[in-house]
Symmetry: C2
């Protein structure tokens, strides 16, 4: 499967968030060619400030693998991660992250800051940006249009 | 109560982490003069890369208050937060954080980077550093000495 195909699954998660009245961001974790975790933003439903799609997907992937080390896994997420999620990516030793659209107001893998790019971390994460960028951006715009 | 008194409670959590074989870091959340959450690092026990003391304390505080907004709360933590935890502090809109010793290899509230200090965040967090610094540092040194 190509990055686009996996990102469609993350987008499906974002759609579920939308249906639940949450800011529509979705994520999946792929390990050795298989989806081992999927999650969407549940901050409002859970009343939990840490319940971003990426954090939930990482927690579920760690549970599936029985380890906090996700060194062979790839995270697909529809929006560029915030500092908390970029930090969770470092903590979990993910091999690669692939995101849809950039977050110019809060993105922490390049847009506002780059949490991943510090030589002191003993781990390097590969970043791929802009996969299904338009679709990932459009679902967010559509959500905020509906709010107004 | 003074910062030192609250930090002693966070240190007690760090001691619990030590007893469980975890890197000894502890945190509490204080809201309007009362402790509403306490947690210690449980990364190894839970096999969860996000189970740092700060994240767990923030999650528990949000559950107690029934809201992801912790705008009136203060987090006490024995070690300077990593990027993930500094990001969780932004997400939860904590009023203030107070930490014990700096983390020169990974601290994200000033030592290696400052995740909190971006004008684009719509929230300012007050930071107090160096409270019971020696005790907070000593328990970590003691843990790593024992590992070797």
């Amino acid at each position: 499967m190509l990055h686009n195909d996996w990102m469609r699954l993350a987008l499906r998660q974002a759609e579920l968030a939308f249906e639940h009245g949450e800011v529509p961001i979705g994520a999946i974790v792929v390990h050795k060619g298989h989806v081992i975790a999927a999650a969407y933003n549940e901050k409002e439903q859970r009343k939990d400030p840490t319940a971003h799609a990426e954090v939930l997907a990482i927690q579920r992937a760690a549970e599936v693998l029985g380890s906090w080390r996700l060194t062979e896994a790839i995270l697909y997420v529809t929006l560029e991660p915030c500092p908390m999620c970029a930090g969770a990516i470092i903590q979990s030793r993910l091999k690669q992250i692939v995101y849809g659209c950039a977050d110019l107001k809060g993105g922490a893998t390049g847009s506002v800051m780059n949490v991943l790019d510090y030589t002191l971390w003993n781990h390097r994460v590969d970043v791929v940006a802009g996969v299904l960028e338009d679709e990932c951006s459009e679902i967010l715009k559509s959500f905020f249009r509906r709010l107004r």
